[in-house]
Amino acid sequence: MTTAHAEAANGTLPHEPEKATLEGRNKVLAFWLFLGGEAVLFGTLFATFLALRNQTNEGPSANELFHLPLVAAATFLLLVSSLTSVFAIQAMHRGRVTMLRNWLLVTVLLGLCFLVLEIYEFSVYIRHEEFGMTTSAFSSAFYTLVGFHGAHVAFGILWISVLIGQLMHKGLTVVTAPKIYVSAMYWHFIDVVWVFIFTVVYLLGKVG
């Protein structure tokens, strides 16, 4: 298995190029730590949302507002994008640069679709339901939590796009590999957070 990989990696790159240098290992470790901090950040946002989710101030409530099929579609897109980023990392470990680029492109594209759906969802709420940032404590908490996640997705899209450009320009090296690996970690994290948002915000909003 390992030898097959090494052969595939055209003999110059180690099997796990993201962990080949001290800088690379530091980057991966520090990113795990950073995600720990991000978990606290989203945890605090979730706590805020849970505390305020019934404070609708005579504005629309979660049950009236949410349209689950749309959110389910967005969820599906994001979950699949996590899978494609796994394919990208697998391609990287096999040293297949073109395949790596293609899977990253698919990931970015799925992320973009998710973002478009989210923007559409928000615009419907604001235009037709008169549900804006200032409507109620519930609305403030909703837009802040879901919007923070959306901003993370947007940042991830920009980041991975830059990395695709870098990959094309410099190829797969021990410098670019940790960056790609770390961005995939980030993308999974965003995905996990979304699973919680789907449960706590949308499902609980419909049935809770």
Binding site: L41, T44, M133, A137, T144, H169
Partner: protein, 612 residues
């Protein structure tokens, strides 16, 4: 220019020290003004609004912009040396952390000249900090300034964690790591898990104030107590972010000047971890009087008192280290010895405050003020003084004057106890904190006068310290590698100040107190763990500075985005978020540059190493 682009941890340490020192001076002046106002009853030296701004800025400046950067200065100066590393894990991020801190601090202090400082207390309790009660931009400066500064702290925390985990010299297991490295490690972990909470809190408050959100606005369904929870789930661990590094300093200084190894090293390590863990469990003891109910109050009361156990272990271990040692009372050790009883007194009043029913009496009186100043000034600041005097020769290559150092110690500690000891009694007699004056003939007059005189004396102590620094800087650099002669840890094995690559050869660590162990075995230097070779160094870069400038501009732009300006150009720029966008463009542009152009760094070759 050299200083703006540097990524060397030792230079960044000096930058932190200077910037933190200046903010510390500003916070100190604010304290003196507060004490002048309170020198006599019904004083008219300051008006109520200015007093509110001063107490808010004094607390905020001292905690976030005064002592934390000085802690970071010591960590940056010492940690890579103590663990035998050539640098921190991320030199670029290290510089970025400093610059975001500095620009956040500058933004916060601009409030004095740009239409009113924050006036809602350093805790910014809602609704006092909402636009209804605080209509100026003051609190916006607080939320956005602290947000930017907090970013720098978080970056620093992650950097130290990664550095300590991966870059220790061969042979240095975790249980052979110096105590200051341990406390830095644990402090960084607390930073990592506490700061994101305040990040969210500040965002919510900013949204409430600038975007008219309803998080803390009761009329819109919001909940002001939510702010208190978020603030203190960060704020209580913050206390340990401040005090643990001081514990670390004391644990370095006392063994060195007692010529003994630290008593109970492993119990010290586990006490540190336990304190950090419990620190997250006790936030609601700041909220006993909010009405959480007897069950919550009882639980938080007990968990708070539990912290006294690991802290007590530390106190006794320091005493046992000195016991039977060949104690030398140099300036650093004087401060360390002064720290022990002073901090213990702060701890005892802490246990008193942890008792929920008693807290209903103490709440918002000068008793609380006395308690936390005993912990933070009598604990942390004495610890920082000990650390600065101790490592000054390593950082700057010059010994501070012992004579002036002792003068600093005695004036400062006498002034400190004069200022704050009497405040316990003022509080017990019912004097409220945060009120800008008091009525005569309530038995407050004399004790307040004493307190103010004490504050002046602390100011004198600071002036003596500054004089010491000034006189020392005019002398030639002459400190030996191991100027205290009994150095125990790795930083004392290399020249003072260290060369930019720190260690010519990474040392091999053979036990706790690595250098002491070699000395006892009759060796003059550490055994190297590698041959002399080419050393890879990161390049200097302006990008961290530019990124921070960008965030600074974006923050200002966002803050004024809803204002009405007399000039139409200004309105256009701010109301359309053009300034904000411009700032973010600078930041993201710099990030893009960093991403696209890899830094190959440069090498110091063996011949060069031998040449010096």
């Amino acid at each position: 220019m050299d200083w703006i682009t540097t990524v060397d941890h030792k230079k960044i340490a000096i930058l932190y020290l200077w910037a933190g020192g200046i903010f510390f001076g500003i916070g100190g002046l604010e304290a003196i003004l507060i004490r002048i106002q309170l020198i006599k009853p019904m004083n008219t030296f300051l008006d109520a609004q200015t007093f509110n701004e001063l107490i808010t800025m004094h607390g905020t400046t001292m905690i976030f912009l005064g002592v934390m950067p000085v802690i970071f200065a010591l960590m940056n100066a010492v940690i890579p040396l103590q663990i035998g590393a050539r640098d921190v894990a991320f030199p670029f991020l290290n510089a970025l952390g400093f610059w975001t801190f500095l620009f956040g601090g500058i933004l916060l202090n601009l409030s004095w000249v740009m239409g009113g400082a924050p006036d809602a207390g350093w805790t910014s309790y809602t609704p006092l900090s909402s636009t209804g009660y605080s209509p100026t931009h003051g609190v916006d400066f607080y939320t956005i300034g602290l947000q930017i500064a907090g970013l720098g702290t978080l970056i620093g925390g992650i950097n130290f964690l990664a550095t300590i985990i991966t870059m220790r010299a061969p042979g240095m297991s975790f249980m052979r790591m110096p105590m200051f490295a341990w406390t830095t490690f644990i402090t960084s972990a607390i930073i990592l898990f506490a700061f994101p909470a305040i990040t969210v809190g500040l965002v919510l408050l900013t949204f409430d104030r600038i975007l008219d959100a309803n998080f803390f606005n009761v009329a819109g369904g919001g909940n002001p107590v939510l702010w208190q929870h978020i603030f203190w789930i960060f704020g209580h661990p913050e206390v340990y972010i401040l005090i643990l590094p001081a514990f670390g300093v004391i644990s370095e200084v006392i063994p060195t000047f007692s010529r003994k190894r630290l008593f109970g090293y492993s119990s010290m390590v586990f006490a540190t971890i336990l304190i950090a863990f419990l620190g997250f469990m006790v936030w609601a003891h700041h909220m006993f009087t909010t009405g959480l109910g007897p069950v919550a109050n009882a639980l938080f009361s007990v968990s708070t008192m539990l912290i006294a156990v690991p802290t007590g272990i530390k106190i006794f271990n320091w005493l046992f280290t000195m016991w039977g040692g060949q104690v030398r009372f140099t300036t650093p050790n004087l401060f360390a010895a002064g720290f022990i009883p002073t901090f213990t007194m702060g701890g005892v009043t802490g246990v008193m405050l942890a008792s929920a029913p008693a807290d209903f009496q103490f709440h918002d009186t000068y008793f609380v003020v006395a308690h936390f100043h005993y912990v933070i000034v009598g604990g942390l600041v004495l610890g920082l003084f000990a650390g600065l005097h101790y490592w000054w020769p390593k950082m700057f290559g010059r010994m501070l004057s012992e004579k002036l150092g002792k003068w600093t110690f005695w004036t400062f500690i006498i002034g400190f106890h004069l200022t704050f000891f009497v405040q316990h009694f003022l509080g017990l007699m019912g004097m409220q904190r945060r009120v800008f004056t008091y009525l005569p003939n309530q038995q407050f007059d004399l004790l307040n006068l004493v307190s103010t005189i004490g504050a002046m004396l602390m100011g004198v102590g600071m002036m003596i310290f500054l004089t010491n620094i000034f006189l020392t800087s005019r002398r030639p650099a002459d400190a030996a590698d191991d100027p205290w002669e009994d150095g125990r840890t790795l930083e004392w094995t290399i020249p003072s100040p260290p060369p930019e690559y720190n260690f010519k050869q990474t040392p091999l660590v053979r036990g706790l107190d690595a250098f002491w162990k070699e000395k006892m075995a009759g060796h003059k230097a550490m055994t190297p763990s590698e041959p002399v070779g080419s050393i890879h160094m990161p390049s200097a870069t302006i990008l961290p500075f530019l990124m921070s400038v960008g965030i600074f501009i974006a923050g200002l732009g966002f803050m004024f985005s809803r204002d009405e300006f007399s000039s139409s150009v200004m309105s256009f720029l701010f109301n359309n978020y053009i300034v904000t966008a411009l700032g973010l463009l600078i930041t993201f542009g710099s990030m893009l540059m960093r991403s696209l152009f890899d830094d190959p760094g440069w090498h110091i070759e063996p011949e060069e190493l031998e040449g010096r």
